[in-house]
Structures are given as C-alpha cells and as structure tokens.
C-alpha cells in the first residue's frame, strides 16, 4: 500500500544518469575554465626534469606577491620581481662591492660628497628597443620622485640632475651624501632604469609589464598576477652572457611550510625562508644561506620623558638594556641562526663596534633604577606587532624586565598598517621594533634623525648625534668609518634603543642552483647572479 508514494518521490534511472552527468559536467566546466588561470603544479614543473642543470627553467618561491611591478612603486621587500627585468645603474655584488652595470663608471667629483657623476654604458637598449641616454636617467629620477614610492626619501639629497653629454649625468647634492651610489643599486629601487619611451607615453603600463634593460622580460600573457610571474630572455639585453636561464618563474606561496614542501619536492628551486622552517630545511639536506639583518627589540619614542617621565632619564633606558639576557632570548627564538645584538647594525656593517656595552646584569639594572628614583618600578606602555616575529622578542623581554620591576603593558596590533599608525602617532612612549640594516647614512632619516616620521615619532634630537651624522656624511674613508662607529656607540651608550637580537635573512635552495650568496655586504642575493649548478 505504501509503494506508490515512495516510488513517486524516488529517482528514476534517467534522472540518476542526469544527476551524475550534471555533477561530472560541473567538474569539467570548472576545470576547462581553469585553462585560463595557468600556472600551478602543472607548469611550474621545474626541477625534476629540466630545472637548473640544463640552464633551463629556474623556479623561485616567494611568500607574497608584489604590490606593483613598477620599480617606482614596488616595495623593497619584493625586489626579486623586478631584479630580473630592470638592470640597475650600479650593481651591488654578493660581497657588497659596488660594480658598474648600466653605468660604466661612477663616483664623487671633488671633495665633500656633494657632486656625483655617472658615465653610462654605450649601446644599451631597453626591452622596447629604446636607448639608454643621460636624459633618460634624468627623466627616471624625476619619475621616481613623482611616483611617491619608497625611493623618494633616498633621492631627497639630489638638488639638480645635469645632463653633461649623451652618456654622462652629474648629480649636484644639497647636502653631503656618501651613500648616493647605493641609492642607484638594485636594492634601493631608483637605480632600476625604465625605458624613456614608456615614461613619455604610458607609465601606467609599468604596473603590469616590464620596460627595463635587464636580462629578462616579463611574459605578461603567461603571468597570472598574484599567483605566478613568468620571465623570458630579453633579446635586446646588452650582455647576453648574463642570461643564464631559458625561463624564470616566481611562484607566490603564502605559507612558509608550503613553500618549503614545494622546494623539497622540486616544484621550486629556491625560496626565501624564515627561522620557523630552518631546522626542517636543514633536515631535508637543503642548502641554506643566511646573514643577520633585522635588529629587534624595544625602541624608546619618548626620550625626553614628556609622556613617560622615567624614559627621560638615560639611566632608566640603560637599566632596561642591562636587565635583558640577550643570549638566552636569542638562543630560545633563533637557535644558531641569530645573534644577540645591542646595536642597530649587525657585525660586518659600517658603524658596528666590536666591544660589548651591556652585559646581562639585573643587579646593575636595579641600581640604576634606584639612582634614577624608580626603584619601585613602573609600567611602560608599548605598542608592538606580531609581524616578522618582533612581538615574540618583546614578550620575552617583558618577562625579564618584570624581574627588575618594569611592567611592559603591551598593545598588540596584528595589522602592520595600524601598528605603523600607532607608533607614528607618538602616543606610545616605547614600541617593539624590527628594522633591517642599511648603510648608516640611510638609516638616519628613517630611524634616528628628527625627521624619521615613523620610527622617531616624537622627533628626538641631540646636537652631538647630529654632528656625528653630518661629519660622517661629508667625510671620506677611513675617517667616515670611524665617525660612524662613534655614532653607533653614541646611540648605544645613550640607550635610544634596547635591541635584543638580529634576525637573519635566510635563503633555502636545492643543489641545481648556484651563485646564491648572502653576506653582510649584500644580504639579499639577486636572482640575476644565480646560475645552473655545474655550468
């Protein structure tokens, strides 16, 4: 009696077939559509067959996509994406020496570091066929300044750009700038020359395509922005011997563990690693290159004690430095891949002092606090961010500072933009910091001079610090090196910061790639230097 209604509600054979066909069709449609997205496991097949050894395809893994492919807009952290397509005027080699690239020669004219001349290589053409001339360099500098990207502050010292002849440019500086040559290397973006024709016609195209004089061009048709970027040799390249690969692909892999798995299985040949995966990389037998680069710890924004009176007393800031066991924190967080640090520059960098200033001495810290009148301790508001693990360091400091009576009241901003906003507002007397080393002259306006908008939010200044900075700027080596060491010593002794450790920059790669080097002189290895192992 119940059969009829049940049968009525059921699924007949024809409908079942329809259901199955629909499901299969849905899968096929989505898959066929996928043909347009490209990339991925199928075609990033590097290494198993043709990567490296044949000089065929190089596959690079990166943790994030670039914000733009325009050299004037791109963030420095993404420089690999444009290193391949834009040759710089000056190349910073693996050991840190500055070598001619698009500029055949360069240097200061006369004394005082205020007039700098670049002589361009003859016969260089951009990938669109247009020539490199002195006037193109002048227009590039103008464009980089107008574009408002990260290169702008580095170009601030240039007063005029004079086209001396077709291949010679002279820069007159409004103040001594011993690091102006660095500004025109691959690392500081403004040296990456862009075709003059595209600057005149449609610079908007730079965000998606390449118009450089580098060894490769971006294959826009095969590139899927934010996922993978494909590069092929530039037929116009001035030095064909430096084209080492038939193709280069940069694949975006947001998860460090995923990136390492891809490296282990040969889907990519090299990645930028981090300290959380370094042990696994070691265990997998991968090659590891590392150099200490980013100092992390506390920075004091309120060095005059307007917001937080104790910080106005140098003895309190020194006490904080004495209360921290740098070796213990470094070993716990970084193991063998980091170094304890009390200076803003790592060993091997200009300005680094060999001697130790602050040993771990909680008793001395308590004495200093007593002398300053804060023997009962105080609460110190600190803004920090988990980005790049800097919060980990501050939390470790908090435990140790608690032992001497200083209570860090942490405000954690997961959003880095919000963190920057908070610390640049000057509302916090101290903040967690992670700052990548640069030539000291460039670190001044970004870190410790009064106009460092983000990292010196309350405009701390000191005549002696300014004097040392100005003297170093105008000096020639070896006097400059000596003054820079004095400057760093001043920062340490006056405890403007309480650095704890220096994070390393890490590269993991397999044995098909050679030429990957990282040194204090040049921590970030350029992909244009890599070649197939055995060639």
């Amino acid at each position: 009696m119940s059969r009829t209604p049940v049968r009525h509600a059921g699924v007949g054979p024809r409908r079942r077939r329809l259901l199955v066909c629909t499901a299969v069709f849905a899968l096929l449609v989505t898959a066929c559509g996928g043909g347009t997205s490209g990339g991925g496991a199928g075609d990033s097949a590097s290494s198993e067959a043709d990567s490296g050894a044949s000089g065929g395809t190089l596959n690079i893994g990166q943790l994030a996509p670039p914000n733009s492919m325009d050299p004037a807009q791109i963030n420095q952290a993404f420089e690999w994406y444009i290193n391949l397509t834009y040759d710089p005027l000056i190349f910073k080699a693996a050991d840190g020496t500055l070598e001619p690239r698009l500029a055949e020669s360069f240097g200061f004219v006369g004394e005082g570091n205020t007039s700098f001349e670049l002589k361009l290589r003859d016969g260089v053409r951009f990938s669109d066929g247009s020539p490199l001339t002195a006037d193109v360099v002048r227009r590039n500098i103008e464009y980089f300044r107008q574009a408002g990207g990260q290169a702008v502050p580095f170009l601030a010292s240039i007063a005029t750009v004079e086209v001396v002849d077709e291949l010679t440019v002279r820069l007159q500086l409004n103040e001594p700038d011993p690091t102006i040559a660095h500004v025109f290397t691959q690392d500081y973006l403004a040296g990456n020359m862009i075709s003059g024709e595209i600057l005149d016609s449609d610079p908007g195209l730079l965000a998606q395509e390449s118009f450089g004089a580098g060894p490769y061009v971006l294959d826009a048709d095969r590139t899927v922005p934010n996922d993978h970027y494909v590069y092929t040799p530039n037929p116009e390249y001035w030095n064909p011997d430096d084209i080492r690969w038939d193709e280069v692909t940069i694949k975006v892999m947001p998860n460090p563990n995923t990136a390492l798995s891809a490296l282990e299985t040969g889907q990519v040949d090299i990645i930028q690693g981090d300290f959380t995966t370094v042990e696994r990389a070691e265990g997998a037998g991968l090659k590891i290159e590392s150099t200490p680069l980013v100092f992390a710890g506390l920075a004091f924004a309120d060095r005059s004690g307007e917001l937080m009176e104790p910080l106005g007393d140098v003895r309190v800031r020194q006490a904080i430095n004495f209360a921290v066991d740098r070796e213990e924190i470094t070993a716990a967080i970084l193991g063998e891949y980091g170094i304890a640090s009390e200076q803003v520059v790592p060993p091997g960098w200009e300005g680094f002092n060999e001697e130790e200033f602050y040993s771990f001495d909680p008793e001395r810290a308590r004495d200093l606090l007593d002398q300053a009148g804060y023997g009962d301790g105080f609460e110190l508001p600190v803004v920090t961010t988990p980005f790049a693990s800097q919060e980990l360091v501050v939390q470790a400091m908090a435990d140790q500072l608690d032992e001497v009576g200083i209570d860090l009241a942490l405000t954690s901003e997961t959003d880095t933009a919000r963190y920057v906003e908070q610390l640049s507002s000057g509302r916090f007397p101290a903040y967690g910091i992670g700052y990548g080393a640069q030539p000291l002259h460039l670190m001044g306006p970004g870190l410790f001079l009064p106009d460092a908008a983000v990292f010196n939010p309350r405009g701390s200044s000191d005549p002696e610090l300014q004097r040392l900075y100005d003297e170093a700027a105008a000096a020639s080596d070896p006097r400059r090196a000596e003054v820079e060491r004095e400057l760093v010593r001043w920062l340490v002794e006056n405890a403007w910061f309480a650095p704890v450790l220096t994070f390393p920059v890490l590269f993991f790669h397999n044995d098909t790639v050679a030429g990957v080097e990282s040194s204090p002189g040049q921590p970030i290895s350029s992909p244009t230097s890599w070649y197939a192992a055995g060639r």
Binding site: G40, A41, N255, N257
Partner: protein, 313 residues
C-alpha cells in the same frame, strides 16, 4: 519550478546588497588603509594625505559605497587600488580554481559521507559507533593542519601528489586531478564527517517507519528497500547538510588555498583584506554571496524534486 526560481532570485537581491554593504563597512572601519599599505614605513603625512585623496579614500564611507554600487550595478567592479588589476578579470581568472575545489570537495564529501552514513545506519551497533567516532574526529581536525600532514606524507615523503599548485585541465585531466587530490581531500574531511552523521541519523529514523516493515513483509529485496526507499526518504535532511557543507567550504578554501598555494578566490580574499584592497575584497564578497544564493536555490529545487509536497506548497 520557474516561479520558485524567480521568487528566490528576487529575494536574493536584498541579501546580496546587504552583504556588499556590510563587507564595505567592515573593511572601512578596520584599522589601516590602502594608502598606508602602499607607502609602507617610508612616508610623510603630506604624501599619505595626497595618496588618500588620489585613491578617493578621503570621501565619506557611504559616499564611497554609493559610488562603488553605482558602478557595480553596471557590471563594473572597479580596479584593485593596489595594483590596478580589473576586479572582474581577477575573479573570473580565479573562479575555476575555487569551483574545482568546492565542487570536488562537495562531491567527495557527499559520496563518501552518504556511503559511510548508510552503512552505519543500516548495520548499526559497533559500525555505527565507529562512524560516529570518525565523524567527531573529522569534524574536529583543523584543515590547515591536515593539509600540512597530507603534504608531508603524500607529497614530500612518498612523492605521489604535487605539494602545491593548481594544474588547469588544459595541462591534462590527470595533472588536474593530481593537483586537486590533496586540497580536495583536506577540504572534504570535515564535510564527510557531518554528512555521514546526518545520513546515519536520517537512515536510522526512516528504518523505524512502518512502511519499511511493510516493504519487507511484501518481499521487497533488502537492496531495494535501502537504496530505492530508505535512502530516498532520508535524502531531504542530507541535501540540506550538503548545501551547508558547500557554503562552509567557501571559508575552508581561504586556508586550504594558502596551504597549497592555489590561485583561487580564498587566497585573493586574504590578500585583499590584509592589504586593504577594498574593490577586490568587495568583488570576492559579492561572488561568495552569489555562490550562497545559487546553492540555496539548488537546494530548494532539490527539495521540490525529492518531495512533491514542497513543490505544491
């Protein structure tokens, strides 16, 4: 059915509008903005204000939303404020990846979950308890952890599947299936657990009904009783759960696409949210909202197909 579909589509319009407004407001009140993302640490207050003006971020939030909505209604979802990419192009390019993942995971969840639930419901006893236990474990395992474990074992150690990436079917069906195997498995586990549990409960319930005893008394074969009658009657709640699983997978793709470095909409949503790329985030939110609308519509149609009483109502 046409009337049902028409009514549902009309009802979905305010829903999509509400989703677009909410996602716009949430992103607008979140700390930070695109200008800060673009400028990084090297900025001056003047340059920041100038860039905000160039990007239109200095306008009132509701004015920004109104402008965006006006363009969106005309089919223009705008361009990424970060890199200038057309939002609709980017979504269209990534849609196949996410659909492959979600449809694949839904199909796997449905087939495996129903099979397990059916066996458990019919056999009962120890088998039922085992399915219950597995469901609990499956529902509790974090997908990103499971994904990393699967990669460590099946990609890194045994080299059976690729560790990362999406291979379009144009590269070959086999490559496509291989690239989907691990992420789809990762996504499907939680769905299998939920569907198996639901199927088991629904099957046990239907098996208790008098018509089943009547069918058996009339000499119907056990296979016919189970597959033609019990499963059919147990299908309604299971279809609901399958729909919910599909919708839940939309959020699951956010993590899984990251773990497997797949160029889908989930990863795009994360990138857009972390970089305050409002037009891109709006595009993804609208796309996900449309997914939900379409899936609910399909569930309604399926109800009518499975149970004529619903269709009449």
């Amino acid at each position: 059915v046409a009337g049902l579909i028409g009514r549902r589509i009309l009802m979905s319009i305010p829903l999509v509008l509400l989703v677009s407004l909410l996602s716009f407001l949430l992103e607008a009140i979140a700390p930070g903005d695109t200008a800060r993302t673009i400028l990084g640490n090297q900025f001056t207050p003047e340059r920041y204000r100038e860039l905000r003006r160039e990007l239109g971020l200095d306008q009132p939030v509701l004015q920004q939303y109104w402008d965006w909505l006006g363009d969106a209604i005309h089919g223009d979802l705008g361009r990424s404020t970060l890199n200038g990419l057309e939002v609709s192009d980017e979504i269209w390019r990534r849609l196949p990846v996410t659909l492959s993942l979600i449809v694949g995971a839904t199909v796997v969840s449905g087939l495996v979950g129903v099979a397990l639930g059916l066996v458990s419901g019919v056999r009962g006893g120890r088998v039922g308890r085992v399915v219950d236990a597995l469901s609990l474990v499956g529902a509790g395992v974090p997908s990103f952890w499971l994904g990393l474990v699967l990669v460590a074992l099946l990609a890194v150690r045994w080299r059976i599947f690729p560790a990362t990436g999406y291979a379009p079917i144009a590269d070959g069906v086999f490559s496509w299936l291989r690239s989907l195997a691990l992420p789809v498995s990762t996504l499907a586990v939680a769905g299998v657990a939920v569907i198996a549990k639901q199927t088991r409960d629904a099957t046990s319930d239907v098996l208790q009904r008098p018509f089943v005893r009547s069918l058996r008394a009339n000499g119907a074969s056990e296979a016919s009783v189970i597959f033609r009658h019990v499963l059919r009657n147990a299908a309604m709640p299971v279809v609901t759960v399958v729909g919910l699983v599909f919708v839940g997978l939309l959020t699951g793709t956010v993590l899984v696409e990251s773990v497997f470095a797949m160029p889908g909409l989930g990863g795009l949503a994360v990138q857009a949210a972390t970089r305050h790329d409002l037009p891109m985030l709006q595009g993804v939110a609208i796309t996900f909202a449309l997914f939900v609308v379409v899936v609910n519509l399909l569930i309604d149609v399926a109800y009518g197909w499975l149970n004529p009483k619903v269709r009449v109502g």
